[in-house]
């Protein structure tokens, strides 16, 4: 009963916190709300007319939505890069960053689920996917695995921070006996969500571009580069706009994680390119299409040739200690790395998987305005969710929010 009262008060207090803020904060939230409304409007058009308002066709049947979904699963998984040292290895440095990281994971997962729902042809019958009520094709369909692990991960990432914040809110220390097992599970779980998502593509013998054993590991490497890179950027913003203290040491340690992951990612990229282009087979056509265009069709060239140089540049910058320890340069490197991986793992992975089609036919994919609208709306939703979570968490952590008896 008491706990319930505390919880009620926590909700009330956090509602107060998120509705109050500087002018900049209000502008930011208003912009996000506007974008969400635009996204909802676009989605209503899509619901009404069907998915024909998107750029997808029978040839390229997954597009911007699934690209973003794939990328964001990686971002969500990356929260573990902060959880592991903090809770499991007891590294104090990460303690402040970890709540932000988990908030980011929650926001990313919300976006993932929203993207999947946006991609569905029949959202009104989604209950068919609920285990027990519908028919859940487990374990045959990797998609059902994905549903399970994503929702499980969402649950873990909500409960652990909630518990810690709930304790701190009451001015008590969080009991490590309670959250350490959860943290342990989440470490494995994060790897699982990303591997399972990779298996979603990897398990399709029909798509040789995806059907390679390196896809899973590469997913992990790129996720552990892009996710923490985003966390660094977010921490930078939080550092400059709130009184929440984040030490330089923390950011430097996260930067180290980003560096190693980016390097591994680059090695895997080289290995993949070698395999596709040194001894090209019939199965290398998708890669040819992606990097050089096929039969005069080259819609993806600008994308991938933006991504590759950015990726290399970022990795080089991060590799040199001098450059990496200069925060301005670090932020820049993180930003371009984030963009590069977003392209590489979104557009650069999903679309060429469908091109050329099973019988060598090429229909190119260009997202439509409505699709982009929905996508931006969902990103705004993610940013919105994250802002709310981060603001509450920071409020509690710096002691502004406390339970008054």
């Amino acid at each position: 009963m008491r706990r319930f009262k505390v919880f009620k008060s926590l909700v009330r207090d956090s509602l107060d916190t998120i509705t109050q803020g500087s002018r900049k904060y209000h502008l930011w939230m208003a912009a996000l709300t506007f974008m969400m409304l635009v996204g909802m409007y676009c989605y209503s058009i899509q619901l009404d007319e069907g998915l024909s308002v998107t750029g997808m066709t029978d040839r390229v049947s997954w597009g911007l939505y699934i690209s973003n979904f794939t990328f964001l699963v990686g971002v969500a998984a990356a929260a573990v890069m902060l959880v592991m040292p903090t809770y499991v290895l007891k590294d104090i440095d990460f303690k402040q960053a970890v709540l932000i990281g988990e908030g980011l994971a929650v926001a990313a997962l919300v976006m993932c689920l929203a993207f999947v729902i946006a991609d569905m042809g029949g959202p009104s019958v989604l209950w068919h996917m609920i285990p027990e009520i519908g028919v859940f094709n487990f374990p045959n369909s990797m998609l059902t695995w994905d549903v399970l692990v994503l929702n499980g991960y969402l649950f873990i990432n909500i409960t652990i921070p909630l518990y810690i914040l709930f304790r701190h809110y009451q001015g008590k220390e969080a009991k490590s006996k309670v959250y350490i097992p959860g943290a342990f599970i989440s470490v494995f779980w994060a790897v699982a969500i990303h591997l399972v998502t990779a298996f979603l593509y990897q398990g399709l013998q029909a798509r040789p571009f995806w059907n390679n054993a390196l896809l899973g590991p590469r997913f992990l490497a790129s996720a552990f580069a892009a996710g923490p890179a985003l966390i660094i950027l977010v921490l930078a913003v939080i550092r400059s706009s709130t009184s929440f203290k984040i030490q330089d040491k923390t950011i430097k340690k996260i930067a180290m994680v980003v560096t190693v992951a980016a390097q591994i990612n680059l090695i895997m990229l080289i290995s993949e390119l070698f395999k596709e282009f040194y001894a090209p087979t019939h199965h290398s056509e998708s890669a040819y299409y992606l990097f050089f265009g096929l039969h005069g069709k080259d819609a993806l060239l600008p994308w991938i040739w933006t991504a590759i140089p950015l990726n290399i540049l970022a990795t080089v910058i991060l590799t040199f200690h001098k450059l990496r320890n200069n925060f301005k340069v670090l932020y820049f490197a993180c930003f371009i790395l984030f963009i590069a991986i977003w392209i590489e793992k979104g557009f650069g992975l999903i679309v060429p998987g469908f091109i050329p089609g099973p019988y060598g036919k090429i229909a190119e994919y260009i997202p439509t305005g409505i699709e982009i609208g929905v996508t931006l709306g969902i990103w705004a939703l993610g940013a919105f969710v994250f802002t709310i979570l981060a603001k509450t968490a920071i409020g509690i952590e710096i002691g502004k929010l406390r339970y008054k008896k």
Binding site: G122, F136, L143
Partner: protein, 361 residues
């Protein structure tokens, strides 16, 4: 729907195997043993129909699920029709049908009575909406039948009569010009080089120096599309047909990505067929009218093949290049082709085991 006659895995958290309420003394699932009078069958239908099929668990959970379902319905908008002022019996009936259709179970798991009930509802719904009567079948797979198909590459002249017949038979969307069959025009001397083939030619055929090869759904015996479906909305029937329950499909298009043969089509917008062109001889798993946002595919014209007829493409082909039949009948023509001609299948290395063979004279 006791879980021991399921041939697949499903999560079974907290649900005990329970005696099927509709089974009778002879041990068969409902309705099979005779002795039921009409009343009783109807009673079973009422009890186990529609979405109750999936909610047929312990009572307390069942009511909870019902509430959940009702709240979902609000989201689905189905409730808006059923809650509106009932102007007359017809709209009330329509609302009732819509409601039951929205929450019916997966066709694959239905008993024969439930299959019949949903088919009756669909026929009635069409009648209420258009005033016209269609006939829809829910005929199950025949015993001792496994359908197979052979395509004679030497015979095909590229006329595309099969494509036309297929579209007309199967009520495919006219706006997007959906077609299940593709005829690939290949250059002599290039072998089976799909990259240099043209599947959308328009010139006099057969063109000099070319040959023709048709593709469609191959009804694989080990279909990758079936494995990946998260809700079992697509499956392989006992007679080998790979079918889709259009009402159960959630439209995730995973099956489309998994198919190595371009056998599947998606309804990107609401499919439209002019009323006078609608083929009214339908099957639930076959050519009944689809809605937007669901998958569909070639079913070897299940409405025809399960009645002993040839699929529309076979019947339309003027050259006899298409051969269809029962693979289990040792005297069937398809078996003779498989045993006496040099047959091959596309991408056999993928292990999909298509039931669609190619051969040459």
């Amino acid at each position: 729907m006791s879980s021991d006659n399921k041939k697949w895995f499903s999560l079974n958290i907290g649900r005990k195997n329970q005696e099927t309420s509709s089974s009778c003394s002879c041990g068969k699932q409902s309705g099979g043993c005779g002795g039921h009078d009409h009343e009783e069958i109807k009673h079973i239908e009422e009890r186990k129909d529609g979405f109750e099929q999936v909610f047929d668990v312990k009572m307390n959970r069942r009511s909870a699920f019902k509430q959940l379902a009702a709240s979902l319905a609000i989201g689905a908008g189905a409730v808006s029709t059923s809650c509106s002022m009932f102007s007359d019996d017809e709209s009330k009936e329509k609302a009732q049908i819509d409601w039951e259709e929205q929450f019916k179970g997966n066709y694959k798991l239905m008993t024969d009575e439930e299959k019949k009930a949903t088919v009756d509802r669909l026929v009635r719904s069409y009648q209420l909406r258009t005033g016209k009567t269609i006939s829809m079948s829910s005929k199950n797979a025949e015993e001792n039948v496994l359908f197979g198909y052979a395509f004679n590459i030497s015979k095909c002249q590229g006329y595309m009569d099969c494509v036309s017949a297929c579209v007309e038979e199967n009520n495919q969307d006219r706006n997007s010009q959906m077609q299940y069959i593709r005829i690939h025009e290949m250059k002599d001397g290039n072998g089976f080089n799909f990259n240099e083939s043209d599947d959308n030619y328009y010139h006099e055929v057969p063109a000099e120096g070319h040959f023709y090869m048709g593709t469609q759904c191959f009804h694989c015996d080990n279909p990758p599309c079936v494995n990946v479906c998260p809700v079992q909305a697509t499956w392989r029937e006992d007679d080998g047909l790979v079918v889709v329950d259009y009402d159960w499909c959630v439209g995730c298009r995973y099956c489309m990505a998994a198919c190595p043969y371009d056998g599947r089509r998606f309804n990107w917008s609401k499919p439209e067929v002019p009323e006078e062109e609608i083929n009214k001889n339908q099957h639930y798993l076959g050519n009944r009218l689809r809605k937007k946002g669901v998958m569909e595919k070639c079913t070897f014209c299940v409405q025809r093949s399960r009645a002993g007829k040839n699929p529309a493409c076979v019947e339309a082909c003027p050259t006899g290049a298409r051969i269809f039949g029962n693979l289990l009948d040792p005297n069937s023509t398809i078996r003779w082709v498989l045993e006496n001609k040099k047959v091959f299948r596309l991408r056999e290395d993928l292990g999909t085991e298509p039931k669609f063979w190619y051969f040459m004279d």
